[in-house]
Amino acid sequence: FPVVPEKKEDTQFAKKYLEKFYGFKEEKNSLFKAKNLNHMADKIREMQSFFGLEVTGELNHKTLDMMKQPRCGIPDIRS
């Protein structure tokens, strides 16, 4: 369904979700900001592909909604 404007806390929530279930690791050094964004977009694509969502790499409403569903705590990728 249509996208609602992305909120900062949504990005934080998504980062934690991707760390927990898709092995996302954020470079702490801010020099790698662009690299982080690409890496995060890759992980979003991986999660969208797993759940059969449209693979956009963007944190859209459908993707956020799926992240907020109650679920099992085990990662979705083999790690």
Partner: protein, 404 residues
Amino acid sequence: YSTFPHSPKWKKEDVTYRILNYTPDMLQADVEEAIAKAFQLWSNVTPLRFTRLYSGQADIMISFAAGFHGDFYSFDGPGGTLAHAYPPGSDIGGDAHFDEDENWTKFTTYSGYNLFLVAAHELGHSLGLGHSNVLGALMYPIYMAKDTRDYQLHPDDIYGIQALYGSPRESPVLPTKAFPPQEPTEMTPAEVPTEMSPRQEPTETTPSKPPSRPEDCDPHLTFDAITTLRGETLFFKGSYVWRKSPYFVEIEHDTISSFWPSLIAGFDAAYEVDKTDRVLFFKDDQYWAVSGYSIESGFPKPIQNLGFPNSVRKIDAAVHDQNTRKTSFFVGNKYWSFNENTQSMERGYPRKIAADFQGIGHTVDAAFQKNGYFYFFHGSNQYEVDIKKKKVIRIMKSNSWFDC
């Protein structure tokens, strides 16, 4: 399906488990029954046998805990992560932990999480299965409330666990056909949401297929219900959804379960209250409310909650007028008007449809509001209605929105 790296599994067929503590949300006997039933799901399709221990170290130790509970994966309070479990191995290997901050229940209502369903999933991990991306599989990572009476494992779950342990020794509890891992074959789109291609049961045993989706431009196409949703329009028929959006050109073909996995197919009516970002679905004498993909808790509710007499057992169609904040409900040759502000039926209803809507001399199958007009559907025809004059101004085919 998937397994953990290096596919760890129990190197024996007799596996033990122990329930270390209980959730205060349920009777102890109900907890024990839920867990025993969950183990039985897996023993039914493998040579594994599960024995409960009451003391000492068991292979699979089951416990309830909240927040930090001694491993590296603290729980996160209500919602979010419900539970987790470890792959087969020594010590913590095989153990299953359930988040005590959740509300555990033996029912499948919306007010809590069904312990049997979650335990069956977690024990799949305790036996060596990872997550599945097949919607409807038990090992799918997201919780879905389902009827647990006579619950059956999805073929994908069975493929996975039998890849690790093989099938049962004694005469298979299952139908005699084997489950040879088959190359995923194309399933008709109606059976799976797009972009997934799960394995399919061997064709000779595929259950009778649901009727396939009618063509968009079938001149005899009719609909069960239609509603707007955040600027888009959703057309429902059986388990199918046609989605028309201003944000993309073509009509998207979905299934109800791809948006709301726990809702039943075959809606009678649907309407959106845009101001509250809510869509209500009606089936027989019940209704549900959703916001986007989320089903509001406490549903389904009886339609009598809206003010219908007990004699009304189902609704044909519903449409909300965003300007007047009134919703019209169509039942047979009559209609009611519901005031969304006061949440009550208006006086003087029901009234005859034909008396108020000039040109509508029959029942209404579906209805929605768009561009300041009402659109009523009857069979394969659609009537554009001037809302103020309550008068039909145009008649089209029901699927005229699909650019046929």
